[in-house]
Subunit: 250 residues, 4 copies
């Protein structure tokens, strides 16, 4: 039994720092690196790629809307052709930076509002999958299980990876509890670790109403920009390993 | 005898159009495509690459400072490491767009203030050459003859190409007459054509003071954003061909 | 009988030009000046204000989403508080530029997607009205007749002005025919002039299906960025004057 | 005897936080608020103005180059007319936000590279002074003592205020020791406090070589973005008050 742990990285910009990449890096196996549109700049991208390489962490592109102020979290009206071009440019920029460091990309995960929109909009999901395929069809596409994202990636013949969130509450239908609802984010580290283990080992997540929901995931997403992120991530990794689950990149 | 004609292309952005790319494209052999930092956006980049491919024009990256408002023409304080990362990201973005169109890059030419600064600053020129080498050492680096740019490219082992300007006045020392001086830009098409022919056929340019200055160039740069650019470019190409000079990409 | 003619102005940015402001200015009475977020930069703003002043044209702020590439025409998720701050900053920037030219603002008209979203979202409309009121409650707020915009302006105690579009087709319910439908934009100048006159003189617009729709407007909006805009605007103004309608600012 | 303490504030942007404004605010008397070009966004500007008002801190505009990634610290080629327009727009934006909070501006201090360039370039300094005068001639202009900035402000008839840096080393000629030199920044809080007191009480600063340099300042600048900034600022204020110096806004 094995699992990947992915985390958004390289979300600093210019003079501003976000996250605690150096301390999170040792606990993860895949880094989703911002590509300069919603966060990151060429220098940040390079330092992040370098750190990932040093820690033996797989490098992926984390493209998003070109919206620094909104951090790519605001939904922006976009047609699929526009999204495809936007993503190809971002993936290409990061791949070039990686090449300069003697590294290459393993996966792509869309960021923020773009991810959320594509989860429910099959055409946007198709644009994301199309961008990946156009750039390098061997890249793995990450997405929410059973969503348009996964469906579009598979339809394009890409290798896809479904991700689960150990620190988020789920609904009975397998969707995430909206962040606006109380209890949407789980803060108790022991509980988060326990949920991660059940997700991987048993393929089950407990829904907010107590129901056991089947959930098959290939990677666990952890959040690097919350206080205590490094510690929580270390505990999740240790917990998974203690449960006999091998933690390794996709 | 042969020569390349290069022109900056894809300098539109969002709702704004610049240049007359469609009408200039048939007369040139190399397109320097803006990479989204000083001009261009992913959609413009893709349309420009597509047009270049349709016209059989070689595609090059034209990276510049990330300064839309100043169009990359303002000098910005930058250290070499920053410039290298900035260029790798831009070249990578354009290369990815090109790949999505089944095309690939042939050359790189720095834009505007970055080009001008690197002409006289060997360290910046080295950063540009370093970026090209890190991304793809088979790309050709364009620059001003006898400048730091050409020197740095050669020092990195890159294939370099020196460019001449048929519509610009030169000084006795081979430098360009500053734009602030009267007569710096030559507007008479017949004269421009004549100067282009002499430059290629005889390796000579007439300086502002009448002196014959030796100048060895591999490519002629034409400007696509001036009124009448398409016509002037067509006349230059026709004039070169009439003089028995084969016009072809680098 | 009198009417105002308003037009979006100052939509150039950095090296890029949009519209033909100098030729349109003589025919209009109110200029909606872009404020640097979706178009315009401080230099463009200043030149536009100066031109408006020279032509005796009333100056208004035309704030929009901070989205240059999308020209403020993409809908962006935004909460009312964010929109209020965004607009205050933009109106303030333009008012300051106007003050430096010895001029002051007369009106505010939201731009593009923000306008369209506020037409149907009373909370966003309230944010726009709130921004105007917070900055200067004597400014006139422009909007679509019978929309949330006009309603919100009135609710805040602002003077409001309803605008009509002589070159746009209307539906039986008084809404604009969506641009995606054939015939949404009317190109025949004679017809446009005729519709402008009927709108002002008779308070009526012919809907796409031939129905006479009552429409009470205080200002006619003309578009400055279409080919022939200057001529069409001149004809509209002349046609209104020939029909005995006095053309003057709000 | 009295002195003002000024500090750069509101330098967060979108999702990124900089500085510890809330903890620094109680110890200062003037806040230089970023205006959205090098840092700050409309929401940050509003929150910063609101906090300053709550703490009874005088509000000033802190305009800089439109360079988020470089945080306004990179020198950018700019002609005076451009700088004037850039500053008017920024000051106007902040003044509008302040007005919405029932507050008004007291001073203007240029930021980063713009400040440094204007210290030695009288024409840029004149553009800054011209912008302030054009917007509101009652605003106080801050600058380095004996620099072009102060000279330009005075020449425009503005009220000027010279600022000193308690945590920076000075040269015998009254200039600041360049940051690139060891000892340029003084970290020992007791020493910083002592230097602040001597500067105000005695009009003297100890140069790096031990010489007593006369220095007449109206305000002390403290830095809010360094670790321990809030504590250091509180100690400076307490030290000044203990020395019988009244701390109050300009």
């Amino acid at each position: 039994m094995h699992i990947d742990i992915n985390c958004d990285m390289g979300e600093s910009f210019g003079p501003w720092t976000m996250g605690d990449d150096e301390r999170v890096m040792p606990s993860i196996t895949s880094a989703n690196v911002a590509c300069g549109a919603h966060a990151g700049d060429p220098g940040v991208m390079r330092r992040t790629v370098r750190a990932a390489k040093r820690h033996g962490v797989a490098i992926g592109a984390h493209p998003g809307f070109a919206d620094l102020q909104g951090f790519g979290r605001r939904e922006i009206q976009a047609d699929p052709a526009e999204v495809e071009d936007l993503l190809i440019a971002q993936i290409g920029a990061l791949a070039a930076i990686a090449r300069a460091e003697g590294a290459s990309l393993r996966h792509v995960k869309a960021h923020g509002a773009l991810y959320n929109m594509a989860v429910r909009d099959r055409r946007l999901a198709g644009a994301i999958a199309g961008a990946i395929k156009a750039f390098d069809p061997s890249l793995i596409m990450l997405g929410l299980p059973n969503s348009s994202l996964i469906e579009a990636g598979a339809a394009e013949g890409l290798r896809v990876a479904a991700e689960g969130f150990a620190d988020r509450s789920y609904e009975r239908d397998g969707s995430l509890t909206p962040r606006s609802r109380a209890g949407a984010v789980i803060h108790d580290p022991a509980l988060v670790v326990d949920r991660a283990v059940r997700m991987i080992r048993d393929g089950i997540v407990l829904a907010a109403d107590g129901a056991e929901v089947p959930l098959k995931v290939d990677t666990i997403c952890v959040h690097g920009d919350t206080p205590g992120a490094a510690d929580l991530t270390r505990r999740i990794r240790a917990g998974l390993q203690a449960a006999g689950i091998h933690v390794r990149a996709l």
